[in-house]
Symmetry: C2
Subunit: 410 residues, 2 copies
């Protein structure tokens, strides 16, 4: 854990994926991130995968390196404590609705320079989740085998909750922009990031929205081929599937060499009257002929031999792994400095955990921290941030307004 | 465009998607982002979709609101100018390799407190692109119809370059963390974000890596169903496909009401000895029986009627659009304040353009800015940032070291 944000304290009142991710990234950069949940756990506390003891492996990875405070958020007193904690920290990440007790105005009443980051569904307040904004974006009807009926293909949802993760990362960025603005001007800010805007806005930013409007229709279905360039999945003699891409001159030259295809490609160039070294356009236009040449070679070679040739020619490629294979792949995980030794996870299950995605050469990277038990830091945070005494905290616990660590009573 | 970062000047030397996205997000928050390219255009200058005049709709969307400087980056003199510009700005976003003329050390030699953000392929320096890290991540072999042969399903690539966009947003966050650290300590920093680490690290952060290790194998294939909760695509009598999700009690109650399924679901609960209101677990466990009930209702109703019932019950749902439909959907685009009027795009083609994903209630949001023509700001930037006089710039242009706007000679 790098200490780039050691002076920041951020209250996170959130659930699911996008909002906890924003807090996670800040925590992995050294900020104090205090996740405040309902005392029985938030909406995501039982999110799959659950261990046999009922611990969520999703929760304990998305909330790594945070502190946990458990309050009765259905009670007025618990809600007031959360508002007071957010005011005390001055920084808030949440996905609770603006029309809730945790509005920006409610906190800013006692902390005028509050910076709050609110993740919403759609911009107009309608609920949305990754799965539903994805349906609206257009991507699921472009995904899947090219040979499917072009007129009426079934939608294919991406399994990665990509919109959640883009929104989480963007929200961490927007929060820091707001905090930095306050440091320059003294002004707080309320920043709202709708998940749906991230989805439809990314369609636009990628150029795909302009493309569809320019075409006056939808892009042709491409299956696993790369749009506008050379790349696709191929399969070797021994049945290994791999993805390969060539967008730059170096990538293309390396690929032709690795597949020993210089002569057949020269013949194809002659036949078609093009030069494939000219760039993406001829390679994409004649992709089916090229794909056939590359697949013919791949189908005659086992993966181990082809991989050596691809690596020797500095090609850009990867073998498709199942996720279980990926988790056990030493190059991806065990030997990758992104991952550190397993911390003491609430689940008791040991597995590799991430450090921050960003690394700083020469700086000690620190080891990953565990997620907290729910309520593990209730006493510490109420005492330090709100100045409550031991008796006051005991009373809150006795009355069910606050709850301590669920370590022994999950 | 909000002016949260008006004091920042950032040089961006980049191509493709992740790295330009990081610069785009900063530019849309008011930073001056100076994209410096090779005088003929970077590797992504001709990225599809191209207009008939050869303008890239991808480039002009990912480089919106930036300035453009065109230099001969194959010449020593052009490279020195880029290093000098990065040193002058003090902030750099790049995806050029560390082992290039644009190393952190080369710039820091004249600007000790430089903050540089370098997007890499894999952490060990091997090249990677969105398509290839995706193959390694495990997601493509989990994607696609559930009925496909579970033992040997073909990979399905997601069409959205999700790893690029997550990496871009995360990099904007990490850059601001580094800049803020400098403001507190006076120290510069070199931050490296490998695309491959974002992919395999997201597998871990989502909990999916722990899940696969805990299972000792791969997750069952689910098609379009949501893992661990209730949700899937359904199709109405008139053939409209939609996605619906119910993870919270409110979502579930609304869905049962919208589909008028209270009685059949009570009967199923009796038969199975469960209560579906208890949460995700019973709803996921018996999803096939539930899916059949919901599809039976959907198949008897046209979309317009069902949509009204879903909306009236505040359900979380979306109809699948093609991307062309999405681009023309007033709720998503024309009536969405994320989008502003078309700026004067280099392509000459007019279409809606995004503002920043984050919005600040009550603050004027400004209108989207166009991308520059390549080299449009070469003179302005060389004069302002490096203090070059008109004669010096003219000489650079005459000798082919610098190039002016390609507006009239694309």
């Amino acid at each position: 854990m790098y200490k780039l944000l050691p002076d920041l304290s951020i209250v996170e009142a959130s659930s699911f994926v996008a909002s906890p991710t924003a807090g996670l990234y800040c925590a992995q950069m050294g900020a104090e991130v205090i996740r405040v949940d309902h005392k029985e756990g938030g909406l995501d506390y039982d999110r799959y995968m659950l261990t046999r003891e009922g611990r969520s492996l999703s929760w304990e990875n998305l909330n790594r390196a945070k502190k946990s405070v458990a309050l009765d958020l259905k009670s007025g007193e618990g809600r007031e404590l959360l508002v007071a904690l957010a005011a005390s920290a001055g920084n808030l990440i949440t996905n609770l609705p603006e029309a809730s007790f945790l509005s920006h105005a409610a906190i800013a009443a006692s902390r005028a320079d509050l910076v709050s980051l609110r993740i919403m569904g759609w911009h107009d307040g309608r609920q949305a989740m990754d799965f539903t904004v994805n349906a609206a974006s257009g991507y699921p009807l472009m995904t899947g085998p090219a040979q499917w009926d072009a007129a009426n293909p079934p939608p294919v949802n991406q399994v990665l909750p990509a919109w959640d993760f883009i929104t989480g990362a963007y929200s961490a960025f927007a929060l820091l922009a707001g905090i930095r603005h306050r440091e320059r001007t003294g002004e707080g800010a309320e920043l709202r990031v709708p998940l749906g805007d991230v989805a439809i806005g990314t369609v636009a930013n990628s150029g795909a929205m302009a493309e569809m409007l320019y075409r006056g229709g939808d892009r042709e279905r491409l299956g696993n081929a790369i749009w506008g360039a050379f790349g696709r999945d191929f399969v070797t003699r021994d049945g290994k599937r791999f993805m390969v891409a060539a967008l730059t001159p170096k990538q293309w030259d390396g690929l032709v060499a690795a597949f020993a295809l210089a002569a057949p490609i020269a013949a194809l160039e002659e036949e078609m009257g093009v030069r494939f070294a000219d760039g993406d356009t001829p390679r994409f236009a004649h992709r089916e002929r090229l794909f056939a040449l590359f697949q013919e070679v791949a189908g005659r070679i086992d993966w181990a031999a082809l991989e050596a040739r691809l690596a020797a020619n500095a090609c850009t490629f990867e073998r498709y792994r199942t996720m279980h294979e990926a988790a056990n792949d030493p190059v991806l995980v065990a030997d990758n400095p992104l991952f550190g030794p397993s911390p003491a996870n609430p689940s008791g299950f040991a597995y590799p955990a991430t450090r921050s995605f960003a690394n700083i050469p020469g700086e000690p990277r620190g080891d990953p921290c565990p997620a907290p038990f729910l309520g593990e830091h209730t006493e510490e945070v109420l005492a330090e941030k709100l100045g409550l005494g031991a008796g006051q905290i005991a009373s809150l616990v006795d009355r069910g307004v606050a709850r301590l660590s669920d370590k022994d009573h999950r």
